[in-house]
């Protein structure tokens, strides 16, 4: 997919020595430190970095949407066609920017106005900036929607944002960005919220449009694989500084800086080689899922059966809407299935009385995807981790809570003093560690990880996966690991189940499924998932 454009190597954008700082109560904090880069016509520049690396701040400076204060541009220039936009007055800049630079965001639902049809929102761009008639602008809108491959564009233009799927909304956003024929498109994590197969299509579309209109594309991402797929040049940002820059091939094949190498090593799909194989004794399964179905207005999961054995990691992969989370909710008994049964050590959990259920809950714990939402913000860490013992008061004497909380915090790699802090004082990865510590508190047999690492940066992701593997050996746990990200599952799981629209498509030992997929859907998934290996080999 990488296309080298040799013609018209005209410089579009040049960023010189840009430094941005933020004023906080703890003094001034440098978000971007002396950043230099340039972008030519028809070229894709990927800005790679983890959260807090300053990549989005850089983009908002270029767009002129940095809020000052608290932001402050300390030095540098941003030359757009040789005009320094930082020196322009606000109104001059707005006139210039609107038509030259456009941006696409990650969260499409919050960036489209829910009460206007998508067509009228795109048409508005024409009417405001180009002064053309309503009829004409509507015609152009439909053409644009057709260009980004929205099926049946003249009818769909009248639909509202919520009537589109996530991938289609991103297409609408792209159409909107194209409306004024910009020279540069900035895509800020454009596919992070999307499924792999849809992600592949959106990236393809972006690449196509770049070549067709000879635009410059700045792709901001935390995902190295995406950068490898689509970009010509990359810069790697860490703590506001460029640690590495160069052509995509050079950087990925020959990373110079230690941070880039660390990032490369954290890419999921590599830990598998280090994973210790545990000899499997196929004893009785601890959990048997038998023909369960769950119907809402639609079918969320349909006739699903599988087993979970002791000390095993079972991966469940599938795209959004495939019924993965429904299964987790059913096992956790947050919801009841419409049909079928779930056996725990041979006993049906659906016919459990209150007492049995209480004991079952002790043995099955959960770690959710969003570590920002899964911890109660008003409770401190000690209260959060010790809550299971307060509920199961016979488990541990009150006097021992403190020392056990310290032990648990240590075993997930946090400091015992963290117990008096509150969730908001931790980063995403640290919060996920707290959630894991809480899940471990009752010595469970099974931990269900529902997209437990998908909200985290790659290097943090790798740490959490290693932690989960260590804990499994230490406490002889079984995991049900639910994810949409295939490489992560490859790292962690012994067996894997592939789901689509509520049904199990394929299941088997992880190496078999990944190396020799039988079903077409599995093959498609594997193909769509971006990887660096394609670039390197």
């Amino acid at each position: 997919m990488v296309t080298k454009v040799s013609n018209a190597n005209k410089l579009l954008l040049k960023v010189n020595n840009l430094s941005v700082s933020f004023d906080t109560t703890e003094g001034s904090f440098d978000a971007v430190k002396a950043v230099n880069f340039e972008l030519k016509k028809g070229e894709t520049l990927a800005i790679i970095g983890e959260s807090g690396s300053g990549k989005s701040v850089t983009a908002s400076v270029i767009m002129g949407i940095l809020t000052c204060p608290p932001g402050k541009i300390k030095s540098g220039e941003v030359l757009l066609n040789d005009i320094d936009i930082l020196k322009l007055s606000d109104s001059d800049r707005r006139k210039l920017m609107g038509s030259k630079v456009a941006i696409i965001f990650q969260d499409t639902l919050s960036h489209l106005n829910p009460v206007f049809s998508v067509g009228s929102q795109i048409a508005e761009c024409f009417e405001v900036h180009k002064n053309i008639s309503k009829k004409e602008s509507w015609k152009k809108t439909v053409q644009l929607l057709e260009r980004v491959r929205i099926p049946n564009p003249s009818r769909r233009a009248k639909d509202f944002p919520h009537q589109f799927s996530g991938g289609q909304r991103q297409r609408v956003m792209i159409a909107m960005a194209l409306a004024l024929e910009p020279d540069i498109i900035i895509a800020d994590e454009p596919t992070t919220a999307l499924d792999v197969t849809i992600q592949a299509k959106i990236l393809e579309l972006l690449g196509e449009l770049r070549d067709e209109r000879n635009m410059g594309l700045i792709l901001i991402t935390h995902d190295l694989a995406i950068a490898a797929e689509i970009s010509d040049k990359v810069i790697v940002l860490n703590e506001g500084k460029i640690v590495e820059k160069g052509t995509t091939k050079d950087v990925f094949i020959n990373p110079n800086h230690a941070y880039t190498r660390q990032l490369m090593n954290s890419i999921p799909g590599k830990i598998a080689k280090q994973k210790k194989k545990i000899s499997k004794k196929f004893s009785d399964p601890i959990l048997e899922i038998k023909n369960i179905s769950k119907f809402y207005d639609t079918t969320a999961c349909d006739d699903v059966s599988f087993n979970l054995f002791s000390n095993e990691v079972l991966g469940i992969v599938g795209e959004s809407g495939s019924g993965k989370t429904t299964i987790s909710n059913l096992i956790l008994r947050l919801e009841s299935p419409s049909n079928g049964e779930i056996l725990y050590h041979g006993k049906n959990i659906l016919s459990f009385n209150k007492n049995d259920l209480f004991n079952f809950r002790r043995k099955v714990q959960v770690v959710f995807q969003d570590p920002y939402a899964s911890l109660n913000p008003t409770m401190n860490i000690f209260d959060i981790i010790s809550e299971p013992w307060v509920i199961h008061s016979d488990f541990l004497h009150k006097k021992l809570h403190k020392s056990k909380v310290s032990d648990l915090l240590k075993s997930v790699g946090l400091h015992p003093d963290d117990a008096i802090k509150f969730p908001h004082q931790f980063s995403g990865g640290q919060r996920q560690r707290i959630a894991i510590a809480r899940a471990l508190a009752l010595n469970p047999e099974i931990i269900i990880c529902d997209e437990a690492v998908s909200a985290l940066d790659v290097s943090i992701q790798a740490q959490i996966i290693k932690l989960l593997l260590n804990l499994r050996n230490k406490f002889s746990l079984s995991y049900i690991f639910i994810a949409h990200d295939l490489p992560v599952v490859k790292d962690l799981a012994d067996r894997v189940i592939v789901m689509k629209s509520g049904k199990i498509i394929e299941q088997g030992v992880v190496d078999d499924v990944f190396n020799f997929p039988k079903e077409k859907y599995t093959k498609d998934l594997l193909k769509a998932s971006p990887s660096i290996e394609k670039l390197i080999s």
């Binding site: 809950r361 899964s374 109660n376 913000p377 509920i391 809480r438 009752l442």
Partner: protein
């Protein structure tokens, strides 16, 4: 040993709260003013003994700020020549007791009902919300007048009626908040841990709704004071010679042109109390939210 540790812990807590007050001077002034009013409400009436009923017809509508008479007449005297200071102190006790109890009662009842309605939903939830609708569909003053007319217009009945008519706002707000919080992941986490419904409602959901409810309650405090004065003015509220600030304002209205101080001083106090409560509630809202608490804590760290 244990006891000393606990004592130290308490001392630390006090110090922390005190320093958080020091970082918000307006809240500090408010709490001092409110504590003074509470002190007056509790001990005031026993200090002034019977002087609130003592009439002195020669001092009718005496102007305030004159040193010619006893200091009790410094704020002037009312139409029957009773000392304004004594009347205000007596009114403080009545008002604080009535409005305070009514607000606390309606906040607690309304809050709990709203929590239950929001958490359980279904038939119980609907039943509770329809109850709120019924209360709201009556003109609250009319309802209060009828109830108080039928029953004895005593202090307790007055409080209950005021609390009852103000309850729906807490029920609706609490319910709306619960509907959102209930879907958050930490609630699912608590359920899968085996937590009981009561624990989830009061340990996980309630703490997040309390700041909102308290803010409404402080706004409501002034409203309840006025509602009470309207009832008293109609003769179904507090009975003379007992008096409240609201009633003093209502009675003083007739004399506004010749003796402005009759309505002015109680009005001023109502305003100051309502203002202090508002300032205090915005302080409290920050203190109760761990994510915002640093705003009050950090300033202190810097100066140290």
């Amino acid at each position: 040993m244990q006891l000393i540790l606990e004592k130290n812990h308490l001392m630390n807590k006090f110090r922390k709260i005190f320093s958080m007050f020091m970082n918000d001077k307006l809240a500090l002034i408010s709490i001092i003013f409110l504590l003074f009013m509470v002190f007056l409400a509790i001990f005031g009436p026993s200090l002034i003994s019977e002087s609130y009923t003592k009439m002195n017809l020669r001092l009718r509508n005496l102007e305030p700020f004159s040193f010619d008479h006893h200091f009790m007449y410094f704020f002037g005297a009312d139409a029957l020549g009773r000392s304004m200071i004594a009347r205000l102190i007596l009114a403080t006790q009545n008002t604080m007791f009535i409005a305070g109890s009514a607000v606390i009662l309606s906040m607690t009842l309304g809050g709990v009902l709203g929590l239950i309605s929001g958490y359980y939903g279904g038939r119980i939830g609907n039943l509770i919300m329809r109850l709120a609708d019924i209360i709201m569909s009556f003109p609250s003053l009319l309802l209060a007048v009828i109830v108080l007319y039928m029953f004895d217009p005593g202090l307790l009945n007055l409080i209950i009626v005021l609390a009852f008519t103000r309850m729906p706002i807490y029920m609706r707000t609490a319910r709306a908040e619960v509907l959102e919080i209930r879907e958050r992941l930490f609630v699912s986490a608590a359920i899968s841990m085996g937590a009981s419904n009561l624990r989830i409602i009061f340990k996980h959901i309630a703490p997040l709704t309390i700041p909102t409810l308290i803010t409404i309650a402080t706004l409501d405090f002034a409203f309840v004071m006025l509602g009470e004065s309207a009832l008293s003015f109609l003769g179904v509220g507090i009975q003379p010679p007992e008096v409240t600030w609201g009633l003093m304002v209502a009675q003083g209205r007739n004399y506004l042109q010749i003796a402005w101080w009759l309505a002015f001083f109680p009005g001023l106090i109502i305003m100051l109390v309502a203002l202090s409560l508002n300032l205090l509630s915005s302080w409290l809202r920050i203190v109760l939210d761990p994510r915002q608490r640093w705003r009050l804590e950090n300033i202190g760290d810097k100066s140290e």
